[in-house]
């Protein structure tokens, strides 16, 4: 059932789940066997999953950033509602109706870049690993600034470390790493705009803080945005957000936008 392939570089297919596991008290990882999809995915793109076979309850598909796409496709998720609850109940060997890869991927850093900073809050870590898989091949200094609510939101992040990423953590209650929001880690950033490029994903207040910091120092970057989504294909225009260039769909024009382009609320 790879009928979308010819026309849109998009695949709708049924894939078998290989792993569905908790990585820490808060977050889950699912791995499914999708070599055709894995070959197409670029960092920042997402997959749109029908968590209920009949698609009636919950009704919408659920979008997930691709966490990693090597031989298999991996997603990283938080159980926040009925869709992700259903997903967490899936067992090894169960199948999923997946549509992807969707959306505009992250832009690559400009030529002069020496330091690449990933700034992620909570589940916003999801698109960063696949990005580090790609960027580790270049000679960048890679740094992850991760903010979590508490200990339960922190996991070893060994894959990042294996990619040569320096990991710095802050928690709201100080139970792991620095005490406070991820902004307490901004002193790790090289403030020379020629040399630094930021990728950020997380709650809007966090991304607003990143946006303000970047604007202050003239640093460029990209932000991966989120909105309630229906079709995932740019047809319904339901997931539009405000940007300096008018309303843009997160699913088709995004999820990756220039950091200074999006108007965050």
């Amino acid at each position: 059932m790879v009928y979308l392939k010819n026309c849109m570089d998009k695949i709708q297919n049924t894939y078998k789940i290989l792993v569905n596991e908790k990585l820490c008290p808060q977050y889950w990882r699912m791995i499914f066997n999708a070599p055709d999809l894995a070959a197409e995915v670029k960092p920042g793109q997402f997959v749109h999953i029908r968590t209920d076979d009949q698609g009636l309850q919950p009704f919408f598909r659920r979008p997930f950033s691709v966490y990693r796409a090597q031989k298999y496709v991996e997603i990283f998720y938080d159980v926040v509602g009925p869709g992700t609850k259903l997903l967490s109940l899936k067992k090894k060997g169960d199948t999923l109706d997946v549509l992807g890869p969707l959306g505009t991927p992250f832009k690559m850093p400009p030529e002069t870049t020496k330091q690449v900073i990933f700034i992620a809050g909570g589940i916003g870590i999801a698109p960063m690993l696949i990005l580090s898989d790609l960027l580790k091949k270049k000679k960048y200094e890679l740094i992850l600034l991760y903010g979590g609510r508490n200990r339960g939101h922190v996991y070893p992040m060994q894959e990042f470390k294996d990619n040569g990423v320096k990991v710095h953590i802050a928690t709201d209650d100080g139970s792991v790493g620095a005490n406070g929001r991820v902004s307490v880690l901004f002193d790790k950033i090289n403030k020379d705009p020629q040399h630094t490029f930021i990728y950020t994903c997380g709650p809007n207040p966090m991304m607003k803080a990143v946006q303000a910091f970047a604007a202050q120092h003239g640093i460029l970057g990209q932000a991966a945005c989120e909105e309630i989504m229906a079709c995932g294909l740019g047809a319904c225009l339901g997931c539009s957000i405000e940007t300096k260039h008018g309303f843009k769909t997160v699913c088709h024009d995004g999820p990756a936008f220039d950091l200074d382009e999006v108007i965050l609320h």
Binding site: L56, F60, L99, C239, I241
Partner: protein, 301 residues
Amino acid sequence: MNISIKIANVTFKNPVTVASGTFGHAERYYNLEEVKRLGAIVPKTVTLHPQVGNAPVRIFETPSGMINAIGIENPGIDVFIDQKLPALKKTGVPLIISILGHNEEQFIGIMEKLNKQEGIAAIELNLSCPNLKHKVLVAQDPVATTQLVKKMKSLSKFPIIAKLSPNVTDIAEIALAAQEGGADAVSLINTFTAMAIDVKTRKSRIGNFTGGLSGPAIRPIAVCMVQKVASQVKIPVIGMGGIMTASDALEFLIAGASMVAVGTANFINPRAPIDVLEGIEAFMNENKISDIREIIGSLKQ
């Protein structure tokens, strides 16, 4: 097997189309080989001037459905004709162009521009969008419906379809008013005005305050309205409202619809219209039905 349907002078090769607003301007789909199998394509409603649409949040998921308040975001009729129509024509699928004016002059303005075009099968008058802060929709007033349909019918070189609102006391009255104005068909239903509230913030979930409810949640009401209208009008009815499967579509056909439109289901399963078409054909094969007209309006008392 004959599954073709005629509306006015246009023959559609099968009764399955898509509901306006759920297929974009088909640019995300039009290369799709399977789109060419559809009976007709109804692109998103076009207005005289470009519209940026409503402020987010524009959609919200509800039990077996969704509320939307997109606000007819579209590039306007001139850009549509220049940039969207050529690609749509290339599909070879009959095009039903959905249009909306904020007053009669705007409807006339759009019609005059479309009249200069070729390769359009029919015009659907969107008389029923609930998300544009109009106090009363045309499709909520039988006199206004007759008047506007009559005016458009007198101008248009294409057949005219009137898209009706379910937000009325008696939808058959409005359908009859459209028929009196000379409509070649009516399509129903558009969405139900609806609201969902975030109990934490005590604010509406939708940026536009209210939106339109669609999806399988509304299907039984849509089937009932289609049955009511089809039993009273002489013109063909295009039925829609929460169709997800062929079985859903068959309900509408049995209720009296000549064609069916798949809408919200496109967002869940991009292949839904083709699944519906194939399912109708399979149903006819299984039941040894050679002509779709044996199904249409075959509801037993």
